[in-house]
């Protein structure tokens, strides 16, 4: 520790810290040193010169952001010398900056405006013409007014250092310096919106929010991001009961100061025209607006009747994995008290074979921060930068710290971090690759963790990749196998989980699951699964999983914020099951024409911004939030809807007055009966055959993942948002005599869809990528498996 004196106050600090870091410490008592280019999460540029301070024994004023403290250093941040330098820089910054704050979107929350109040002059001495800079079109999310740019380069450094892709740079020199993309193009980073927060002036602002509200007239409410299992902390900015925009809320252990574009811009859907604002019932195929008592009584009567006459197991519930833990807990409690265990949130999955030996909840066996300390990471079936952008950033940090990242994927995704080695195979070959690695480990003398493993993998031929990976997994250090969405949704997900578990055991590593939606972990904990009750309660008669419920053609389905054709793994089957059901009730914030076509009652629920609730993230953190605005129209929080429904069904123990009571009841159970975190998977009895011929690969594209984000227009317009296509390699297209400008008829079981062909060298041979989450592809069946393709002449 060394001693440094700033503005007469003495500090004991670690050597190597910059003056600005010491002054920025909470309770330092030092007034803020003005700055523009400095940002604690970015590298030091020292180019804006705003933070010049007076350091004793230095002739020149020195930048506080780039001057390390030394023992006995005496710093004055407000001496005449410091103030003169700061004021001089302020004047230079302002001469070419438009002085029209009233018409600038940043006005009121502009760092330049704030600092100018302290260091600027009333009157400009600059009489020359001001510089004007052509605006750049950066796509649908970030608006530009480049004349306002002060060249601090935070946005440039963000791309290079955080997002992991150089999208913006400085072009031109001297006075003609501009920030731009060099060649005209949109931003494609899934974290691009962060440059809006970073930009200290009104050069980069939010396009969807633009000119819609002023910073000082909005209220701020803390909340949790509703899209992925990271659970980023955010603030909702509201004006007159409307969410106007979303900004990150700093939480060093989760999202730091960042937010993914999905979490930032999906708020547009909160005030979508498609919001369902009144209960509706269908009479003679006509939708009638009704009141709550009528609608709920009808649902209770119908469900009660079906339970009584056909048995409660003819009723099933499908829940969105982004439902709150309270909604899930009450849904399963109602279903189970009614006598049915048919409840599931695993909408995108088709293979549930390993579910009984799964842990309390699938997630990270470590904290998000701990990802950064791993020495070896093996991503299996994961497009992490799109699935959980902030987790992808953590992997990037790990990789930059020297972690070796290996990838086994059915498509050659572009990652924002260096990959040590990758194996890109068609989906059905993925389990085999894991078996290859296990075989190499066995050959190297590692004991088989479970008897029979040796025999299982005996016939495989290890590839070069298997050898490299095995060697890496055998080195000392922390290692984790991350199973992403593709691994969990795979038609042999059970095999993949079991083999990954064996691999982890053999190498003293861990298996981590990055699950769908914001609250898969919560759904497991609260009993939103057919085979376990809340808090891992054993069931004598496990219920049906998603796939079984759809195949069984139940009499009644309860949908909690689910659009089966877009959210379920097998949309064809889902839509058929719904259409043939006797009674379908949909609780959702949105009116969806497809859902309405087979539903009998539509109950308007509210999105996360209008209700209290809790999400459990991948690391098991319970994060509660309150509603930021009143429910719109007649819509009500889903937990209330279910509670009243249960009351009407005359089910006991549904007397909750608040969301907190629901939370409290579940929390008590979890605390009472400390859940067993241990899990161990058996080994598969066989290795699945690789499909000969063409097979399908499916992903839920980043901005098609749930009902909320699908209704955010600005995200839909981005370049990285997929469209319904049949993407394949040039080789396959050539063999099928297809070209990029033609359409194909894709056949899968009974399903059929006509899709445009897209050529890509990222897709392995004999594999066709067809995204889920689109109406067009909802005519097809399972996300994986054999398909046939022929040229469409239309």
């Amino acid at each position: 520790m060394i001693e440094v004196e700033i503005d007469g106050k003495k500090f004991q600090v670690e050597p190597g810290k910059m003056i600005i870091e010491v002054a920025d410490q909470i309770d330092s008592g030092i007034g803020e040193i003005p700055r523009f280019c400095y940002h604690k999460k970015l590298s030091i540029a020292a180019n804006c010169r705003m933070c010049l301070v007076d350091v004793e024994k230095s002739g020149k004023p020195l930048p506080a952001c780039a001057t390390p403290v030394t023992d006995g250093m005496i710093v004055r941040t407000r001496s005449q010398k410091a103030r003169e330098a700061q004021k001089a820089v302020m004047e230079f910054l302002l001469i070419n900056h438009p002085l029209d704050c009233p018409i600038c979107d940043q006005g009121g929350e502009c760092e330049l405006q704030d600092v100018a109040m302290g260091y600027g002059q009333d009157i400009s001495r600059y009489n020359e013409g001001k510089r004007s800079v052509k605006d750049k079109n950066l796509g649908s999310l970030v608006a530009t007014e480049m004349t306002r740019c002060i060249h601090c380069t935070r946005c440039v450094r963000f791309g290079d250092e955080i997002a992991g892709m150089q999208e913006l740079g400085t072009i031109g020199r001297g006075e003609s310096t501009e920030i731009g993309t060099c060649v005209e193009r949109s931003l494609v980073s899934e974290l691009s919106g962060n440059i809006i927060d970073l930009c200290p002036v009104g050069a980069l602002t939010s396009k969807p929010f633009r000119f819609s509200a002023r910073a000082w007239e909005m209220e701020q409410a803390p909340s949790i991001a509703p899209h992925d299992c990271v659970g980023s902390n955010l603030n909702l900015h509201t004006l007159r009961q409307k969410v106007m925009r979303v900004v990150p809320r700093e939480n060093e252990s989760i999202n730091e100061t960042w937010l993914s574009d999905r979490d930032r811009f999906s708020y547009e859907a909160l005030s979508s025209d498609e919001r369902l604002l009144q209960p509706m019932i269908k009479e003679n195929d006509e939708w009638l607006v009704t009141d709550w008592p009528t609608a709920l009584t009808l649902v209770a009567e119908k469900l009660g009747k079906i339970a009584q006459e056909q048995g409660a197991n003819k009723i099933g519930a499908l829940l969105s994995p982004s439902s709150t833990i309270e909604e899930i807990y009450l849904s399963q409690k109602m279903l189970r008290k009614l006598g049915s265990n048919n409840i599931d949130h695993r909408l995108q999955q088709i293979d549930f074979s390993a579910q009984d030996s799964m842990p309390f909840y699938p997630g990270l066996p470590m904290s998000l921060e701990d990802i950064e300390t791993q020495n070896t990471l093996f991503l299996v079936g994961s497009h992490i930068n799109h699935e959980q952008p902030i987790a992808g950033y953590r992997v990037r940090k790990a990789a930059l710290l020297g972690c070796s990242v290996f990838v086994l994927n059915p498509a050659d995704y572009t990652f924002r971090f260096p990959v040590q080695d990758k194996c890109i195979v068609k989906p059905s070959a993925m389990p085999n690759v894991l078996a290859e690695v296990i075989k190499v480990l066995l050959e190297k003398g590692i004991e088989e963790p479970v008897a029979g493993l040796r025999e299982l993998v005996n016939a495989v031929q290890p590839s070069e990749f298997a050898h490299t990976l095995a060697a890496a997994l055998l080195t000392e250090g922390k290692k984790t196998i991350i199973l992403g969405a593709i691994a969990q949704n795979h038609s042999h997900a059970g095999h993949i989980k079991q083999l990954a578990d064996a691999l982890a055991k053999m190498t003293h590593g861990h298996v981590a699951f990055l699950t769908a939606g914001a609250n898969s972990a919560g759904a497991w904990i609260a009993g939103g699964i057919p085979h376990r009750g809340a808090n891992k309660k054993n069931l004598t008669h496990p219920g049906m999983n998603t796939q079984q419920m759809l195949e069984a053609r139940l009499s009644a389905y309860l949908l909690l914020n689910v659009e089966p054709g877009l959210d379920c793994a097998n949309p064809l089957l889902a839509n058929q099951a719904m259409s043939t059901a006797e009674f379908v009730v949909s609780i959702s914030p949105y009116f969806c024409h497809k859902v309405a076509s087979y539903s009998d009652v539509l109950l308007p629920s509210v999105p996360f911004s209008e209700t209290a609730g809790t999400f459990v993230n991948a690391e098991g953190k319970w994060q509660s939030f309150k509603g930021a605005v009143q429910p719109q129209g007649e819509a009500r929080p889903a937990w209330k809807i279910i509670r009243v429904l249960a009351n009407l069904l005359e089910l006991p123990e549904f007397d909750y007055q608040s969301c907190d009571e629901v939370y409290g009841e579940l929390m008590q159970k979890v605390a009472e009966n400390k859940a067993d975190s241990h899990f161990s998977l058996s080994i598969p009895s066989y290795l699945p055959q690789t499909i000969v011929g063409i097979e399908r690969l499916t992903e839920w594209p980043i901005y098609r993942a749930d009902s909320l984000v699908r209704r955010a227009p600005s995200l839909q317009e981005t370049v990285i948002n997929d469209s319904p296509v049949a993407r394949m390699s040039l080789d396959l297209a050539n063999r099928l005599q297809l070209s990029a400008d033609c359409h194909v008829i894709v056949k899968q079981g009974e399903g059929e869809a006509i899709l445009p062909v897209e050529l890509s060298d990222t897709i392995p041979d004999n594999t066709v990528y067809i995204p889920a989450g689109f109406g067009l592809t909802a005519e097809l069946a399972a996300p994986f498996g054999a398909i046939s393709i022929e040229r469409s002449d239309s």
Binding site: C48, R49, P61, A88, F92, T170, E175, T177
Partner: protein, 423 residues
């Protein structure tokens, strides 16, 4: 005239095709290197000789070379680099161009010795893009040296490896600033780095790097052959040896003159044939366009060395002596100078990006008779607001001249404002 010219860098200038290896070897070229390799002279001894010689960096800053070379030793972990700054771009300076043209082997020998001293295996010459003839000469010389075994692996059977690569710049003045040069050499935009860390710790590709000017490297072989004291005695204390002065402007014989440091300016002017057309000396910029101007009568009393010029309020810089006769419009000189720095600002630091253009516009306005009384104060204030507040000294390079022009020639600026023309 008792001065002996051309003792160091131009010592072979009088020879036939002095740029060839044959000519250089006849003039004891590569002897210093051979001796070092044969004797396995410890780096420390070489550094000691350089310290004794009082050789100071010839690029403009005048940093003691021996001290600089002592920062990195053969025991510093590799990789580490030696870089030659041949991006001579300071207006008025053209000495390196002629060293590159006429004595490239002496530069190469100096660089090989530098590599030996710091234990580097690779060195780079960053050469100004417009130097067509020098580029060809250096390229040819490197080939010759390689063929003769002075460069490459195991040079002259000594076990020492030394490779010299060369890179052609693209015309930015700022790339003559050493850290901007390193950035450019790495393939990035030529923008100066914040210091510290200095190149000796964090240089090319983030590795320890010794970077020197062409003339500095080229002086080393002669010093090591003849001894540090010999060199020191050629000049004056703390200002050892000879230095090339590029004399330009209103003189009868503009050109490069390699003379002892400490030579009176009057003698240098005489060497250059005196002020042309029989006119009177008005002003001199003694160290390139970034050096403050000194009125002629003051200059006649000064000697050409670092300390004396600094004492007079200017700097010796790269030794570019710009002579102006009494017909010169000082306002126009400053306006032209200001426009150069405006044009060459890299744009990263706020004061320079915004200030150089402001100064240039005000100066231009005054020159064209459109300035006001207020502009006179404004120009100085804006200039002073930049000084010492940027990453590199480009802003100072116009700010300090502005101050000096206003100090010595204020009445000319006032005349322009009042009468809208030159006096």
């Amino acid at each position: 005239m008792s001065i002996t010219l051309n003792e160091i860098c131009f010592r072979t200038l009088h020879q036939h095709e002095p740029w060839t290896l044959a000519t250089y070897e006849q003039a004891d070229g590569y002897q210093a290197l051979k001796r070092i390799l044969a004797n396995k002279t410890p780096s420390q001894e070489i550094v000691e000789q350089l310290k004794v010689s009082s050789l100071r960096g010839r690029g403009g800053a005048g940093f003691p070379t021996g001290l600089k070379w002592s920062f990195i030793s053969p025991s510093t972990p590799a990789p580490k680099y030696v870089v030659c700054n041949a991006d001579e771009g300071e207006p008025g300076t053209f000495k390196d161009r002629d060293i590159l043209r006429f004595n490239p082997h002496q530069l190469i020998e100096g660089m090989i010795i530098a590599c030996y001293v710091v234990g580097a295996t690779d060195a780079y010459i960053y050469i100004r893009g417009e130097f067509y003839e020098p580029i060809a000469r250096v390229a040819a010389a490197l080939e010759e040296a390689k063929a003769a075994g002075y460069l490459g692996e195991n040079i002259l059977g000594s076990g020492v490896t030394c490779r010299i690569h060369f890179h052609v710049g693209a015309g930015a003045y700022i790339c003559g600033e050493e850290t901007a040069l390193l950035e450019s050499l790495e393939g990035k935009q030529g923008k100066p780095r914040f210091k510290p860390p200095f190149p000796a710790n964090f240089g090319l590709y983030g590795r320890p790097t010794t970077i020197n000017n062409v003339e500095t490297f080229a002086s080393v072989p002669v010093i090591l052959m003849k001894g540090g004291n010999w060199f020191l005695d050629l000049g004056k204390p703390n200002n050892g040896g000879y230095k090339v002065f590029s004399v330009s402007g209103h003189v009868n014989k503009p050109g490069n003159y390699e003379i002892p440091l400490g030579t009176p300016f009057s003698e240098l002017l005489e060497l250059a044939g005196g002020v042309w057309k029989g006119r009177k000396l008005k002003a001199v910029i003694p160290g390139g366009s970034s050096a403050p101007v000194i009125p002629g009568h003051m200059m006649m009393d000064l000697t050409m060395d670092y300390d004396c010029i600094a004492k007079a309020g200017s700097m010796l810089g790269s030794g570019a002596v710009i002579v102006m006769d009494d017909s010169t419009c000082m306002v126009k000189v400053l306006a032209r100078n200001a426009e150069f720095y405006h044009d060459e600002s890299c744009g990263q630091c706020t004061p320079c990006r915004e200030g150089t253009g402001w100064v240039a516009r005000v100066a231009d306005r005054i020159e064209h008779g459109e300035g006001t009384e207020r502009d006179l104060a404004l120009m100085t204030q804006v200039a002073m607001a930049m000084v010492g507040r940027t990453i590199c000294v480009l802003a100072d390079s116009i700010a300090l001249p502005v101050v000096s022009f206003m100090k010595y020639y204020r009445e000319e600026f006032e005349y322009h404002v009042k009468h809208k023309r030159c006096p």
